[in-house]
Symmetry: C2
Subunit: 382 residues, 2 copies
Amino acid sequence: MSVTAAKGFEASGVEAGLKSSGGLDLALVVNRGPLMNAAAVFTSNRALANPIIWSKQVIADGTVSAIVLNSGGANCFTGAQGFQVTHATAEAVGSALDVSSGDVLVCSTGLIGDQLPLDKLLPAVAVAAAALGDHGDEASRAIMTTDSKPKRSIRLGNGYTVGGMAKGAGMLAPGLATMLVVITTDVVLSSAELDIALRSATRVSFDRLDSDGCMSTNDQVSLLASGASEVEPPLDAFTAVLTEVCLDLAEQLQGDAEGASHDIRIEVTGAATEDDAVEVGRSIARNNLFKAAIFGNDPNWGRVLAAIGTTDAAFDPYDVDVSMNGVRVCHEGAPDRPRTDVDLTNRRVDLLVDLKSGTATATILTNDLTHDYVHENSAYSS
Amino acid sequence: MSVTAAKGFEASGVEAGLKSSGGLDLALVVNRGPLMNAAAVFTSNRALANPIIWSKQVIADGTVSAIVLNSGGANCFTGAQGFQVTHATAEAVGSALDVSSGDVLVCSTGLIGDQLPLDKLLPAVAVAAAALGDHGDEASRAIMTTDSKPKRSIRLGNGYTVGGMAKGAGMLAPGLATMLVVITTDVVLSSAELDIALRSATRVSFDRLDSDGCMSTNDQVSLLASGASEVEPPLDAFTAVLTEVCLDLAEQLQGDAEGASHDIRIEVTGAATEDDAVEVGRSIARNNLFKAAIFGNDPNWGRVLAAIGTTDAAFDPYDVDVSMNGVRVCHEGAPDRPRTDVDLTNRRVDLLVDLKSGTATATILTNDLTHDYVHENSAYSS
């Protein structure tokens, strides 16, 4: 289901031969209407992959007929030839579906710096177009890279449906994480409304997932609306349902992060502002020493305080409380309950940092730093 | 030799019983004058250890008689009791040497959040005071934590000497790195002049060492001058000699970084400003995916570009050249010579990034991200 749960959408996933490991590697998602409204958000990295450069042009008018996604290559830093590959792929989709290539979003994921083989891509687009149907599951598998399993989510609104798929396991850092996400819905909302809803939902979901602090060149989250339900929900109600889908997918990305053995939920409370809470949470999520300690089931709260001391957030480092899995190990910047009271053997770890400087809060999702993370990322391009 | 190479200094290193592994863990360095001039720079982390809070008061008047350093515990986030321990240690040194405790710098290194045992510290201070002599080597060993070897450096100026010792293997990040450094010299320079020279030297040495992006709570670099050479060198000549000592020690710290298998020298050229060059270099030094790739001897230049794309530095990501060990693998943001031409099997790796946006340059020293780094830092407090 995933992207085909909402009315008006068809999808397929086929094998183009792009991945050295074999398997499905090209996904196509088509909006059959009646509306072709869409919104998308992109990586904030200045190093942009060719499909990002292309898709930013496509989304400008808020009209999207289809989205084609490939794994097996990022098509980033591949020069003018790489942009031609993206363009030709969109043309092939447009031709196969009888729509304008200017309404076709393109997403790529995989190694940076290698050319994608157009002689494999173009025939696969034709096969994918012929295979279109209720194949959201196949599509969600075709976008996997180092993912161990597909990520899908469906939520029902009042008379309408929101469904999505995501891929991402490494380079997970905010703005966005390293991931591709396609969400479809059958609501009747304008592209401008979809844009507001999507930015609101990603701000508190994908943008708060920071697995390894490394920001990708290829991130894209697309939201396509067909209007096929004929339901026009209040924007805030739709945004709430959309946010649930985004949070569900973000947690699935966290749960499948490369090599991770712990899912760490960093909750920052008592912040003067939400920005402060996010900055403090991220400084912890990006601290290798803290992350390695969690891998070793070591409640090393000193590394939490050393991390947050590097931020500009408003708080007194000597009046901070830190709890791990409900045990307050640091009170007012001094040792509280003994480290040995904390059990970190479960995959899920809850870290609570109370800044005692206000009422704002934020939650950041991250993972530990493990032998397997190093192993997977030291051998990725070979 | 190290800190006892310059005339007018004595040192010792003794075993106080602070380190669970045993061995020397308390160092004392004494300035016998005739001058007692000094300067010091400290971590820019807002989370400050008690010895840092103490030493900032001591250095305020530019007069330092002695410096006492312990491994086996950072005395950070140990509350009022922890500050009393630092104060009492300085008092003990003052009493043993018949100097004011207000002229005694204190440095601590080790685990954050544990109290130091005063009943072991105070007798050890007395032993160290009695053992003072030409024992710079013992002092440099007493400050080691996870260091595999002591770090020492000596340079001769025109009629004077600059000698130093350093410790540091993890939490190496600028502003400063996680390290303790003591440098002694017998020049005749005022404390204000020493301060200018020290800030100039550390800015291009220790501040450009970024092993793991984690900033410590205990960093301190102290420079003590005895005037015993009776030589008053030009400040720029002295600064040049001092910078050589700092660079030598910084490279020794890099070469002994926890678990590292590669020493990576990141040279950024063609930057619009030196700040831009430093920002770009640091973004690479802190990118876990790049660092894991180097561990795997994988010349993954795409990760270099993905890292620098997150900075605000002035350059065009599509007009950047990247070379590894002299092989230009990326030219104008597209693949150049094949990855297979790059041999990364040696410990030393030279990465050159040409931003083509100006004439400023900077060099950042870092290390790879390895299994051993994760292992050492997942088991540190146990």
